[in-house]
Symmetry: C2
Amino acid sequence: MPDPSAALEPLADRKRRLVRQRIIEASDELFAARGFDNVSVSDIAARADVGRTTFFRYFGDKQEVVFAQEQQMLDAIAEVAQQEVFPVAQTAIEAVEQLRPIVVGLCERATADLDAYARHRRLLEQHLELRGREALKIQQIGVILGEILRDRGTDEATAVFASQVALACYQTGQRRAKTPASLADETRAAFDQAARLGQRSTPTARV
Amino acid sequence: MPDPSAALEPLADRKRRLVRQRIIEASDELFAARGFDNVSVSDIAARADVGRTTFFRYFGDKQEVVFAQEQQMLDAIAEVAQQEVFPVAQTAIEAVEQLRPIVVGLCERATADLDAYARHRRLLEQHLELRGREALKIQQIGVILGEILRDRGTDEATAVFASQVALACYQTGQRRAKTPASLADETRAAFDQAARLGQRSTPTARV
């Protein structure tokens, strides 16, 4: 018997989601085929079979499309994280540990499609302006991580510090990962290292 | 008696330095008076009494002028840090501690002229693209910090992690500082907190 409480996605929402997806896929294909600089919003709109006006209802500019998947992941993670019940972190490291599964989860999702992830990185490497956007996006992740902690009752000063340490672990993972497939593991290793940071007696060399 | 070993700055270097400084000052004045978007490279060149070609010999674009002071500071700090002799950091926290005076020094220099610093921050707040550039500049600081550690014999993995933690302390300082005057102190406090991070028995709440 069908579950009457399992609501169907409203048609308008479904339509919006599909149009958005079509724009993202059209952009991906065109950027890969012609290079980011040689693709205009009009090209993307034509390929996605929508008007320019529709494009701008979904995205501010073509740079924004490049980070669309990241933004969706962030929104989803913020939503889930805010619904879960957690004890208030009493120390900075407890706060960092509360962020660990969220950040590692982000890494896992980002690299779930290894080809798409590699394509994305190549695009960023070729474009200074996109790397600037990415750097801002990472700072935005920091803001969201801080908000999650504050929503769970962590004080402001600890939330700011812990969210920045969590970002440092993510950035360390990015830089140490030799292939996209090891991003999540390297990020996990950096969190382990952060958890041992103040223990001066034990060498914190990587294990 | 004059010291014969104290070499005078060669005339060509001195001229370059002064032209560079004139371009920076002209940009600062024009950005403050008319807003970043309403100032062209030609405007800056005219105000600095140089040609457009000369401008582009010194800076890639007008965004780059905004971060000229930061870049000079970075170059100077990297040079000094590489000349000093340090023992090899054996643990991640030792590496972080080696970076502390460099990062706090950067904060002190950046806020030495409080008005100029406040003007700079206002400009960034108004422009997404400049914030993107700033975010990249901060990542570049991370790269330089990592290089300093590697030059001192620290292994690659520790250098990457420690430089990211040092950046996290800087970012924490930026976010906690209520006024530019407290940036260096807040950054110092974040380094203190990082040094206590793994000590689970002691609450790491801010002192």
